[in-house]
């Protein structure tokens, strides 16, 4: 049951963005944060709420199951779901989603966007403090955007960054001085954003997942402003910035300790929302082997209160009256996520800089994937339905377009193999297509080849959770087409490095589209998004027509934008730089005696939680 919820609350349909239904977008990833860049982890929206009659008991410890404690504890520096799961409870965004899925102020007391969409203003609440007691001011917002979000957070920099006129990327990116201003000065409470073009999605990306705010005085020493090109703030695999290990935030919970088995946070009694949080302490506990069955067992034995199981573990939870299951509309990895295979259209290892220097519409250069027949045949050969059943356990639905079906601008497409009723792989057609394109096994070694090039390549992806299974499935699918695939499961950090250096032939990413195509989809297709960072334009597609469609969509009102997005999608389906597999969804399971979870608010779902 997907699609809009019955009551359809939220902005009218004609507004820029579609209201995300409570049920629908979810993030599976088995709570294994490790999933794709934005592998939504905690997922599953459910119909909780309405615990109005339950008296709120203060205190107690909540135990949340996670897959790993490794990684930086600074959610502004990356869109990686794992990092966000582990750290979001310690931070806030300017805005947040309340229990009715309405956009409300979080750090900001008031917020507005001009009618022409060219500016956005925020006024922070007075008297807020960071965990170390220092006041929260406009300077922190300015610093967070300029030095972190617009440099390193893949979704925000790819969307808001473009809108603000940011040039360059990573440590070298430059935000125009007038893009972000502080009308009352750095110690004041007001911030104004000015966009190059009308940019309406901005408010909807002001939350702890897309744009968490961090204190300047803590993180500045590691920033590019302080260290130049040697800045370590964005470093994900090195945590060479000590501050990234000891987070200081504004959130309802503050950092206590971290070791290899758990992360402990305790209540922030100076939190800006009076009376919150109710809980004393949260322990994010690692469940070995990312085993959702173990999660279920631990839950049964009482050692875990919140988990994100899938498949077999989930069904055991459903039969357990002590637990409730909720579908989560947005996860800590993002919302509206599609598991996607990407073809590297350029030679493996060719740097992003080299590619970005080429003219638009330059012919692709990858020895295998330059051939569109190959891309199409591989698309036909991927068993999308099988993967959906076996790996996602049918949580979510099959992708039917490059856009997520809940996303504004979505237009259903005729994907290869999709005959509108049956999305199974068409192995016979794929084999025929390859034969006709001249890829035959001329040297009888079991793999096709053409012109001396073997039809063999590698696939990188995260080594945990569903992605590991997807890798194995892909190898088996391709074997039926006599294509040799080397499976390369990588750790979080290594996969991000591989993506940044373009060291892959194909890669698997869970691209979270976000609440507006500009937030999470543009980065996959725009020519300027080929950069030495992870989770952007991994295929390297650089077409003038595609760029034009995007630029038009961003600058237009709704109807023109929808038409432009239709163009984007049809170009994508024609070019096939990616294979869209499933719109993943997942469930979060919570103990029935604990209430008050706001599953709309991603990692801050614990803000209002209380346990009997």
């Amino acid at each position: 049951m997907f699609g809009h919820k019955g009551d359809g609350t939220g902005p009218a349909r004609s507004s820029r963005f579609r209201q995300v239904a409570v049920i629908g977008v979810s993030i599976a990833a088995l709570g294994m944060v490790a999933c794709a860049d934005d592998a939504p982890d905690e997922a599953a929206p459910t119909q909780t709420t309405t615990e109005t009659t339950v008296p709120i008991k203060r205190g107690g410890t909540l135990v949340v199951a996670i897959s790993s404690t490794s990684g930086v504890l600074n959610p502004a520096t990356t869109s990686n779901g794992g990092v966000h799961t582990n750290s979001e409870a310690m931070f806030n965004g300017l805005l947040a989603w309340d229990a009715n899925d309405q956009l409300v102020g979080d750090l900001a007391e008031t917020f507005s966007q001009s009618a022409d969409g060219r500016t956005a203003d925020f006024k922070l609440r007075a008297g807020m403090k960071w965990h170390d007691g220092r006041p929260i001011t406009a300077a922190d917002v300015d610093f967070t955007f300029r030095e972190i979000l617009l440099r390193y957070h893949s979704r925000t920099s790819a969307s808001a960054g473009v809108a603000l006129g940011v040039t360059g990327s990573g440590n070298a990116s430059v935000t125009p001085a007038d893009a972000i201003t502080m009308p009352d000065g750095p110690t004041g409470l007001t911030v104004r954003f000015k966009f190059v073009n009308p940019y309406f999605p901005f408010l909807r990306q002001q939350n702890v997942t897309e744009a968490p705010i961090v204190p300047k005085h803590v993180y500045e020493p590691c920033s590019a402003a302080a260290m130049g090109s040697g800045a370590t703030l964005g470093n994900q695999s090195g945590t060479l910035c000590e501050a990234n290990n000891r987070p200081v935030g504004s959130g309802p919970f503050k950092f206590v300790s971290r070791d290899q088995t758990k992360i402990e946070v305790e209540a922030n009694r100076e939190y800006h929302r009076q009376g919150l949080p109710y809980l004393d302490r949260i322990v994010y506990a690692v469940t070995p082997n990312v085993d959702d069955s173990l999660q279920a067992d631990r839950a049964t034995s009482g050692s875990v209160d919140v988990g994100t199981p899938t498949g077999p573990g989930l069904s055991r939870f459903l039969n357990n009256p002590s637990y409730e299951r909720t579908f989560v509309p947005r996860g800590t990895g993002g919302s509206n996520c599609i598991t996607t295979y990407a073809f590297n259209l350029w030679p493996k290892g060719m740097t992003a800089q080299t590619i970005a220097a080429k003219p638009l519409d330059a012919p692709y250069e990858h020895p295998i994937f330059t051939d569109p027949a190959v891309r199409r045949a591989i698309f036909l050969g991927v068993d999308r339905t099988g993967s959906f059943k076996k790996i996602d356990f049918e949580n979510g639905k099959l992708a039917t377009a490059p856009f997520h079906s809940e996303l504004f601008g979505y237009a259903s497409q005729q994907l290869p193999g999709n005959d509108a009723t049956n999305n199974d792989a068409d192995v016979a057609a794929a084999n025929t297509a390859l034969d006709q394109a001249g890829w035959v096994d001329s040297n009888n070694n079991g793999t096709r080849d053409k012109g001396g090039v073997e039809l063999a390549f590698d696939l990188t992806h995260f080594d945990t959770g569903t992605q590991a299974d997807y890798g194995k499935q892909f190898v088996a699918d391709m074997a039926k087409l006599k294509i040799g695939v080397t499976d390369r499961p990588l750790t979080n950090a290594n996969q991000q490095t591989a993506l940044a250096t373009r060291d892959y032939d194909m890669t698997l990413i869970s691209y979270c589209n976000g609440d507006d195509p500009v937030i999470g989809v543009r980065r996959q297709y725009h020519s300027t998004q080929v950069a030495p960072t992870s989770f952007v334009n991994s295929s390297g597609i650089r077409l003038a027509a595609m760029d034009a469609a995007w630029d038009k969509a961003i600058a237009s009102g709704n109807t023109e934008a929808q038409a432009a997005y239709r163009d984007v999608q049809s170009i994508a389906v024609r070019e096939l730089p990616y294979i869209w597999v499933t719109e993943s969804a997942g469930s979060r399971v919570t103990r029935s005696t604990c209430k008050g979870f706001n599953h709309n608010n991603t990692g801050l779902f614990v803000e209002t939680a209380h346990c009997a």
Partner: protein, 317 residues
């Protein structure tokens, strides 16, 4: 080899009188057969994911299927082949290195022998599993790397045994007599030393095999094995997620490993018993003295891994 006809037959007779040894031999032969005939016994691609997922064991799928639709019977059969392949190559290479070194060390004890002993000690100091982990993590988990690292750390036991046996034989009367009569070193080597070394070497090889199987499974379990082959260890690690829902996923590979390891252990024990009735006193206390070409009891002394202990060792290290 004529001199060995009598004792050899006696050894064989003793071996076939021990139930453990026979059982071990049967299991090992079974495992080898399965490995050799893998394609016949389980036709089909073990990496294929075409079967319905998470099916219980049934006539269609004797061991059930796993979460991705692998037929576990096919996977296990081919996994046994992978394991035994690693075992075979490791044994061959380790023997090719270890036995000659040991024999030389026993034959020429002074400088050469001492030097070889030193090197052996050094090679032995490395905890094998950790080194294996290090190598596959750094160089990739291919079967070739695994074989290399395992064989390069396993030859030490063979060297020690070969040296001990060579030392023992060297001083025997018929050898000194032969040499006095002018037999060349090479003749002595081939006619007397090597035949004497082989039996103990075979025992050790059998026990080595069981250890290699466990190490390979262990590394694959940790996800560091060869991704392009089906490995019993990988199947086992994959089953952890489904321990309760699909218990058969864990039983099939675990059982296969256990059977193979048990087989090699029993075989090694049986051979050891048969070759040296004196080394397992208790059976015929009085006839202990009559042990013919039994090697002397394992050297006592501050050697942390005597030949005897080495032979008795099981486990991962």
């Amino acid at each position: 080899m004529k001199a060995k006809a009598g004792p050899a037959r006696q050894t064989l007779r003793r071996f076939f009188r021990s139930p453990g040894g026979i059982a071990g031999l049967a299991l090992v032969l079974f495992a080898i057969t399965v490995a050799l005939l893998a394609d016949v016994l389980a036709p089909g691609n073990p990496l294929a994911l075409d079967e319905p997922a998470l099916r219980r064991p049934s006539t269609a799928h004797p061991f059930g299927t796993d979460n991705l639709g692998r037929d576990l019977y096919t996977a296990v059969v081919h996994g046994v082949r992978t394991s035994l392949l690693v075992v075979l190559w490791t044994i061959v290479i380790a023997s090719l290195i270890g036995l000659p070194l040991g024999i030389i060390a026993g034959y020429r004890t002074r400088w050469v022998g001492g030097g070889i002993l030193r090197v052996t000690e050094l090679a032995q100091a490395f905890p094998r599993f950790y080194l294996g982990l290090l190598v596959v993590a750094l160089f990739g988990g291919s079967t070739r790397n695994l074989i290399l690292v395992l064989s390069l750390t396993s030859w030490t036991g063979l060297t020690r045994v070969a040296r001990a046996e060579t030392l023992a034989v060297k001083e025997r009367e018929f050898v000194t007599a032969a040499r006095a009569a002018g037999a060349s070193d090479r003749r002595v080597l081939f006619r007397h030393v090597i035949p004497h070394v082989m039996p103990s070497a075979v025992v050790l090889v059998s026990l080595l095999a069981s250890r290699v199987i466990l190490i390979e499974a262990g590394l694959s379990f940790l996800g560091l094995g060869d991704q392009t082959r089906v490995s019993l260890g990988f199947l086992a690690s994959n089953s952890t997620r489904f321990l309760q829902t699909a218990w058969w996923m864990s039983v099939a590979p675990g059982f296969a490993i256990a059977v193979a390891v048990l087989g090699f252990n029993l075989l090694g024990d049986g051979l050891s018993d048969a070759l040296r009735p004196g080394s397992r006193p208790g059976r015929r206390p009085r006839q202990r003295r009559k042990a013919e070409e039994a090697a002397p009891a394992p050297e006592r002394g501050p050697v942390s891994s005597e030949a005897g202990a080495e032979a008795a060792a099981t486990g991962l290290a």
